[in-house]
């Protein structure tokens, strides 16, 4: 159940990195988002696209901001499960 969300997130990260001409680091759970090669605008685009695909934006109720890629995926998975 959770895999499709993770796969979608990975593909959106790659799509936006390529559009923004940014070198994306290998997406592992402990990768710090600020070391991923993406800038704030790239993250903004990723969140907007995921909202269009999934129908939700987990940041609107999130208490803490994700620091690693794993945190980011967990934020979406938690919302998908609720």
């Amino acid at each position: 159940m959770n895999m499709p969300v993770r796969a979608l997130i990975m593909s959106v990260f790659q799509e936006v990195a390529s559009e923004q001409q940014r070198q994306l680091a290998t997406l592992t759970d402990d990768l710090k988002l600020l070391k991923s090669g993406l800038d704030s605008l790239s993250f903004a685009l990723i969140v907007a696209r995921l909202e269009d695909d999934l129908g939700y934006d987990p940041f609107d109720t999130a208490e803490t901001f994700p620091v690693t890629f794993g945190d980011f995926v967990k934020l979406y998975e938690a919302r998908a499960a609720s």
Partner: protein, 461 residues
């Protein structure tokens, strides 16, 4: 009263310092010192463009120039060289004081070239104020040409004079460059009462926060986007401020809650402030928007008016005017500054609903919809377009576009043909616009609403 008098009676007496990198310069040591190496007298009464890279040099130069020069134009390191002639002309500048390589120093009428050098401290100077210096800040205007906004030291320090003095000596820092309004407020606050840890351009968030922690910063300010970036850096927990301030963009509930969780012991305050209107008020209840009774039951010198659907501000903190030969008026007939910030009233609280003037704020960078629309509309198969803001938890807003295709293009409505057109339009945008101005999403629509006067309806811009 000049800035130096405020410092001498405030932070310098309380042991305050300017801290940049590993250097800490006690404010008291600046009493007879100059980073201008004895050339201060040559600047008396002139209109000066201050364009230095190093924030510490700028911090000391501003302290020295106030009360001496007639006008001081504060340039940030990202000022493009192409805009300098406009800035110099509008400010009737006659002295260039700078080292900014991005900005060509050769402009007609700029006589002197000198570089403030903080290493030159100390050189004996006499602090003698002979005029009320006009402070000029730059803010991005339509088509990206900077607007020059004039202030006095009195208007810039208005909110500081009205705030309650701190019992302990605060150590301030800010994510802003101190030559922008938000950063200048913190610079002035620190100089009146405490110390200031200066940000360095391009420094990674985690490194800056480590420095901030090392210097024991108690008060920290930035835009909601700055704070989101700090929270995402994983280094936000390295320091524990007593006071966290947000300004410059709309603070949504998400970022306020995240800061509350990260800094449970801190006062989290969001201030409504702009270069033009100054600091209007500060909200400390941890909720987005502001209570409606702030408008009606207001005491003090700041008048707020919401009767036209936007927030209008009349205050001693307002800027005085836009500078330049074709500059528009800054205030309306009743003396209010109205930047078109639209409000919605819900359950006794006002919430910001974007700007009616349509400016979109993407992580602190302004986007004028018309500029993006012009690029989209240049595509031969586009009839018209409407660029709007879409809420975003990372940058506050992003740019989206609705596009009406010319009839022949709309008729070939196969999904593949539409996708091709979308890609062509995006390619044109990427070729001519900065990344934050390129629409994140393009939607084809059959028509766009127009007002009776034939203008696009920018209801939710």
């Amino acid at each position: 009263m000049a800035l130096w008098d405020l410092v001498a009676g405030g932070a310098a007496a309380r042991g305050g310092a300017l801290i940049a990198g590993v250097r800490a310069i006690p404010l008291s040591s600046l009493a007879g010192a100059s980073c201008l190496a004895g050339r201060l007298e040559a600047l008396r009464g002139r209109s000066v463009i201050l364009a230095v890279q190093d924030p510490l040099a700028a911090a000391i130069a501003m302290l020295e120039l106030d009360g001496v020069v007639r006008r001081m134009v504060l340039c940030t390191p990202d000022l493009a060289a192409q805009h300098l002639p406009h800035v110099a002309r509008s400010a009737q500048a006659d002295v260039w004081l700078g080292d900014l390589e991005s900005v060509a120093p050769r402009v007609d009428g700029l006589a002197l070239a000198m570089e403030p050098d903080p290493e030159a401290v100390p050189a004996r100077v006499e602090r003698r104020a002979t005029c009320d210096t006009e402070w000029v800040l730059l803010t991005s205007g339509t088509t990206g040409v900077p607007k020059l906004v004039g202030h006095s030291l009195r208007s810039l320090t208005h909110a500081i004079r009205e705030s309650t003095p701190e019992a302990s000596i605060p150590v301030w820092s800010t994510f802003y460059d101190i030559r922008r309004y938000g950063g200048l407020q913190i610079y002035l606050r620190a100089l009146c009462a405490g110390s200031l840890v200066l940000p360095v351009a391009g420094e990674p968030a985690a490194d800056f926060l480590a420095r901030v922690a090392g210097h024991g910063v108690t008060h920290m300010s930035g835009t909601p986007s700055h704070w989101r970036k700090a929270l995402m850096s994983g280094a936000a927990g390295r320091f524990s401020p007593a006071y966290v301030r947000l300004s410059g963009e709309i603070a949504d509930q998400g970022v306020l809650d995240a800061l509350r969780a990260a800094y449970p012991g801190a006062v989290v305050a969001h201030a409504f402030a702009s270069t033009e209107a100054g600091v209007a008020f500060e909200v400390r209840d941890g909720r987005a928007g502001f209570p409606a009774d702030l408008v009606a039951g207001r005491e003090g010198s700041v008048d707020l008016d919401v009767s036209r659907g936007t927030l209008r501000i009349r205050s001693p903190g307002n800027a005085t005017a836009y500078l330049g030969p074709d500059a528009p008026p800054l205030k309306d007939a009743e003396g209010f500054v109205d930047l078109g910030d639209r409000l919605e009233l819900r359950e006794g609280r006002y919430y910001f609903a974007g700007r009616s003037g349509g400016i979109i704020n993407v992580g602190g960078l302004k986007v004028h919809p018309e500029e993006v629309e012009a690029v989209i509309n240049a595509h031969p198969r586009v009839l018209m377009s409407l660029v709007r803001s879409r809420r975003n938890p990372i940058t506050g807003a992003i740019v989206t576009a609705e596009v009406v295709l010319a009839r022949d293009a709309a008729a070939e409505g196969s999904p593949a043909a539409q996708e091709r057109l979308r890609q062509e339009i995006l390619a044109a945008c990427r070729a001519t616009l900065a990344a934050h101005k390129v629409p994140a999403l393009i939607r084809f629509v059959p028509a766009l609403d127009l007002t009776p006067s034939g203008k696009l309806v920018r209801a939710d811009a």
